[in-house]
Symmetry: C2
Subunit: 190 residues, 2 copies
Amino acid sequence: MKISLGARITVGATPVWIVGTYDTAGKPNIMTAAWAGVCCSDPPCVAVSLRKATYSYGSIVQHKAFTVNIPPADYAKEADYVGISSGKDVDKFAKLKFTPIKSDLVNAPYIQEFPLILECKLLHTIEIGLHTQFIGEIKDVKAEESILGENKSLQMEKINQFIFSPGTLSYYKIGDYIGGAFSIGKEFEK
Amino acid sequence: MKISLGARITVGATPVWIVGTYDTAGKPNIMTAAWAGVCCSDPPCVAVSLRKATYSYGSIVQHKAFTVNIPPADYAKEADYVGISSGKDVDKFAKLKFTPIKSDLVNAPYIQEFPLILECKLLHTIEIGLHTQFIGEIKDVKAEESILGENKSLQMEKINQFIFSPGTLSYYKIGDYIGGAFSIGKEFEK
């Protein structure tokens, strides 16, 4: 018997992505986004949703570019701070001793200290309601050698990512390996 | 020193959501979506991206509704199977012995056996490229009592969700609790 919880955001896990932009004066800034995800394979695209009230909103509108910086769990406190502070009031790069690197592909900065980053060019802007969704085409993914295995293959354990639970307002690590995708379900094909 | 991996979908973790629809003949069907996420708080909305080639695509276009069913890790094999098989060829509900329940709010079925489900009404359809993004307004969230604590609060550990890693084509459990959101970052406010 299922119990109604009402029309609200209760989906279990969401990503914790740090979105990098230049503000209208060209100063690097970051914010944390959880209303985000992949939305197309070709062109490869991600979507991040921002409220118009955020400082980063105007930056994306102006520069038509952003980066996605995947925080390792070691930086959970920093990522949380990036989500509760505003670039209007504080230089978050300076405060957290992060190094902004200008992307050579899009007009946005990424965080040097993070091992996995995406450089995105704004493709679509969708007005939904409180949030505006920005769809960005991934122009490149850049990774530290430390999270790569043979043939530049990613090592999920080394990315050491974590997730946000909006239903409980908490963060969790990624845990144990379950199995291969497009593989473990084949037993039902019999 | 960061290494370029090229323009591809390499974001660490994505959700594993099972999307429920009625096909054009009214038969319940499910597919697995990883290009998905929350995209607005008010109205509360989620986005799922589907290729036009999927059997579910026409179902959402016709009925303007879908459910999101959050699979527990115990159902990882079933969720994988739902992603590698097509409703054009097989009745996935019957094959997996899942029970389709018609939503009383939208014209789509959900999986009785899953503890957390969202009932969504199609709000926007965004053509991006290979994938079409469907933005659905959450009309209700329904949960089994078994995953709820006091005052209908969600228990993340009991949802027992898992994630997909597109960069390594594998599934991982959600792991250890890190800390409270909008809380652990406050130490940097000093």
